[in-house]
Symmetry: C2
Subunit: 200 residues, 2 copies
């Protein structure tokens, strides 16, 4: 998130490799796989999904240029609890630490940065958890559209993705958006997937 104080090239005690121009839909890793490495986004857009036994997918996090992701697993359980998927053609750097303890000690800035990122992600997740329990879909869809289109305006979010991020069904996201447009709270656009927020 934000300006990163370093690039992967500066990292010590790890092996780097580049994954060039991965096309939309490519799976970087899958939920349940044993974690051996984490990633840096040179360009493109990555979505992290969590899939329930029922098959329902939640869109939990999104990463773009200059973000690191997939490192949570290195410090906790050694299996990814999310599936990482390419949303926009991306080039990633695959970072495989020789030894995690050592890696963190020899890259203190990175360690601190990842820790900070983790802390903020936890705050976000728990805030969304509280909202999921007690807020209506209206609130959640508004929040989601706002967040997704403001933070990642380079991408045309589908209603399916908005719903998966908000935690409701696609039809619900569509109906609510339609209602918002009627009230002028959402710009009415000819192409449905090219949503633009106006206010809030």
């Amino acid at each position: 998130m934000e300006n990163h104080p370093f690039s992967p090239q500066q990292l010590k005690h790890c092996h780097l490799s580049v994954l060039h121009t991965l096309e939309k839909g490519t799976l970087i890793y899958s939920q349940g796989e044993i974690a051996k490495a984490f990633y840096f986004v040179q360009h493109g857009l990555i979505g992290l999904y969590h899939i329930l036994e029922s098959g329902k997918e939640s869109l939990l996090r999104i990463y773009h240029t200059n973000d690191y992701f997939g490192f949570r697993t290195l410090f906790g359980e050694n299996r990814y609890h999310c599936t990482a998927k390419v949303l926009v053609e991306a080039t990633l750097i695959h970072i495989q630490p020789d030894n995690i303890q050592q890696f963190v000690q020899h890259n203190p800035d990175v360690g601190h940065f990842l820790l900070k990122t983790l802390a903020n992600e936890l705050q976000d997740a728990e805030h969304r958890l509280a909202k999921a329990a007690y807020n209506k879909s209206l609130d959640k869809v508004i929040d989601s559209i706002y967040f997704l289109t403001e933070t990642y305006p380079e991408y045309c979010w589908t209603y399916r993705e908005i719903a998966e991020y908000a935690g409701c069904e696609t039809e619900t996201a569509i109906r609510i958006s339609k209602e918002l447009k009627r009230n002028g709270l959402l710009k009415n656009t000819p192409h449905p997937s090219k949503l633009q927020k106006s206010s809030v």
Copy 2:
């Protein structure tokens, strides 16, 4: 969580103070306060709540003997996003690092342990988030009762707390529990707050 590899007394570059026998209901810190310190539980039980604008409270995390809590804030945003409340009379150690960077560098074991804890908490939160979106209250209440009574059997969880953890209304938690008892999936106990899981 689990066996902690060290006690607060071993910590360097910080100031320790003991909070003796805090009684049930005491607020350790409140959501929105600026974070200056974190805590270690010598004994007792602490609940972390997140409160929405609407006033609805979610029970997000619970800590007991030998757990550290309240440290997320030191690494991310500098305000607590939860309110910490005493559930069972507790004695805590208040740990105030002189300087966080320095603190982590001079207590690498602790740093790594907190990192690991944070990583696991994020996994848990995101799994709950996915469930919150797509599972029925039945599943969520069963999960919650199981988790709460198995992990913290020393405490008689109220239906209100079970509901706040599950993310539903108290009435719903009660009705579901009643149904579970009828089906023999939950031990039928005279005193409602002394729930005991039998199977699953």
